[in-house]
Subunit: 371 residues, 2 copies
């Protein structure tokens, strides 16, 4: 069963993750084409940003996409047009969605139904409405359907093997009792700096500013501090563990944006006023310290109780979550088989290269399945 | 692309891991047969121990295997006979080798060449001679061949996603610089008890005895203390990272069996004399303590230098390897993409259920590929 000789790849998004992916794709395509036994040729037949696109009506492979995309005056195809274009391709097609766009996510069932496979780090598709989740997996071959394959390892923990591990646990019949961890590189950095295990740490508002300056936050740090990013990841994990979570706002999510600052009109205004609330955060820190603990921003899923929550928790200083470094993620799976000591996965959970790695790894899996 | 409607399963070995696997197989078969869209029927058509076997010449599914195996007077097929039997099965076949037998391992290329897929926790096949490694992957579809698929996640770290993660790193083009960790549940327990991070701990010989009494060692604890089990796992990881390691004895492996006790004629004699060497171990412990460190038994692969080694090392008390608990394994991948903070996987790396889980997880992957 050699790999297929040619597979067509379409890529939406050429930002931070997208650029890293395209570079990894080039590496992969070169390697696969040189396999002595069963060479596979990957052809990039579509590449788009929000404003521009590159493609040939005869499905000729794109080359020099970086310069050509800059020079291009072609506008992107609508999602319906893109589906028509891909379905007529003379071979199997994998669509790589490197955006975080809801509209693209909403179109997944259409692509899958028509046999296009999908790999993506886009959280929106899997953490939006439960209806969309059902539609995606009703269409996909790795669901109940007979359409394309869909993989989204990078939607939680970037390239860390979080989703594949949870799927393995569930599929092999383990009972997942609890999933707990730090799921945001930003939150990890903020709290590892705010309250290091060995003492010290700065004011919370100052750490937010440092994180923003280092590029560890979204352009507007409120997009991290509201907890929604973590809530989306927990929604995905809870659903994979078998819970019918309606949406990322259907369970308790603690926002670190003080009520009084919710009406700030800009991120800058928010940042300038945040120091007024440092006292509240200092108190949390001191209270934890009194118990020999530290404060961390975590998410957890209690499967038997059907509970999902996101927010601040206190941890013993010897707990693996307390000992986390830099902007690392940590995810602990407590299951029947693993007993008291959970299965733990830890490492960088954000960044272009490692996120793209999860996408490329998924692409390799799909290529194997598309024999 | 629905899953195949029927796949035949043959299982060699019904010991600790084998029994757990058969129970997980039953669970998986029930679930797959009930899939509304594309039911798959798994038929167990062969089951053997070293002395007995169960199978029907007409490939009828085995049932009540536990009682029937006990009552059986059928001897196992030779590996050549087994290959003949499986090749004539009216459908795709997966052979599950739940032994640690070298002879079975040596036969993998034959099975693979003839289209039989293989899943196994048997380290012998992947850590034996480099020639056998090459023959296996020259034959397999996930190598350079066009035969069956071969997966062996449980050959390192039991059900922990160690091998799949390393493969993903390599296949997506990351540069693995170093792999380091505690790869033996026995060694983990021994050193976590001998020198806990917070002080205390017993004499080394007493901890070995405790580990044996708790069933954490092989029947003869020398089979753990000689380091060969860890060396086998490191051989597998080093090869996956691209190094041509000739055998598990072709690099430095520190044995914890004192030279003077190498000639002991039994495990019991060894255990009775081991206390005479506690002074040496106490000195190692005290030396580490002076540096604020603890002693651990680790394996490491330095990929750029092409070096593999297994033995005692000292670690800062804040190092994740020092903080390990119970009999957990920990594996850290240092790569170009992950930078200073490695990708870490941690959890139980031994035990029937979690080892079988790795095998069952591999079986699920093969079933997807056998569409």
């Amino acid at each position: 069963m050699p790999l297929p000789r040619q597979v067509f790849i379409a890529v939406i998004g050429a930002g931070g993750v997208g650029k890293c992916f395209l570079s990894q794709l080039h590496h992969l395509a070169t390697k696969l084409s040189q396999s002595p036994a069963a060479p596979t040729y990957l052809s990039l037949i579509y590449l788009s940003t929000s404003k521009k696109a590159l493609y040939h009506n005869d499905y000729k492979s794109l080359s020099n996409w970086e310069s050509e995309l800059q020079a291009s005056s072609t506008t992107p195809l609508s999602l319906t047009q893109l589906a028509e274009y891909l379905i007529k391709a003379p071979g199997k097609v994998v669509l790589v969605d490197n955006t975080s766009n809801q509209e693209v996510a909403d179109s997944y069932p259409q692509f899958l139904k028509q046999g296009v496979s999908l790999v993506t780090p886009n959280k929106k598709a899997f953490s939006g409405s439960y209806g969309l989740w059902q539609d995606i997996f009703a269409a996909a071959s790795n669901g109940n359907g007979s359409g394309g394959w869909v993989f989204h390892e990078s939607s939680v923990g970037a390239g860390l093997p979080v989703i594949s591990t949870l799927k393995d646990l569930v599929e092999t019949g383990d009972e997942v009792q609890k999933i707990e961890g730090v799921f945001s590189g930003t939150m990890s950095f903020l709290f590892n700096s705010f309250q290091p295990v060995n003492g010290g740490g700065g004011k919370f508002s100052a750490e937010v500013k440092t994180a923003k300056d280092k590029g560890f936050t979204e352009p507007d740090p409120r997009d991290d501090l509201n907890g929604l990013d973590v809530a989306r990841k927990l929604t995905i994990l809870a659903r994979l563990a078998g819970l019918k979570v309606e949406s990322p706002t259907s369970f308790p999510v603690q926002s670190l944006i003080p009520k009084e600052l919710e009406s700030c009109s800009s991120g800058d205004e928010f940042l300038s006023k945040l120091p007024e609330f440092d006292g509240q955060m200092d108190k949390l820190k001191a209270d934890a310290e009194k118990e020999g603990k530290v404060v961390r921003f975590v998410g957890s899923v209690d499967v038997p109780k059907g509970q999902v929550k996101v927010g601040l928790e206190k941890f013993d200083k010897s707990h693996p979550i307390a000992a986390l470094k830099g902007s690392d993620n940590i995810i602990a799976f407590y299951t029947k088989r693993y007993g008291d000591n959970p299965l733990i996965i830890q490492g960088a959970g954000a960044g272009g290269e490692v996120t793209a790695m999860g996408v490329t790894g998924d692409l390799v899996k799909v290529l194997r399945l598309l024999q």
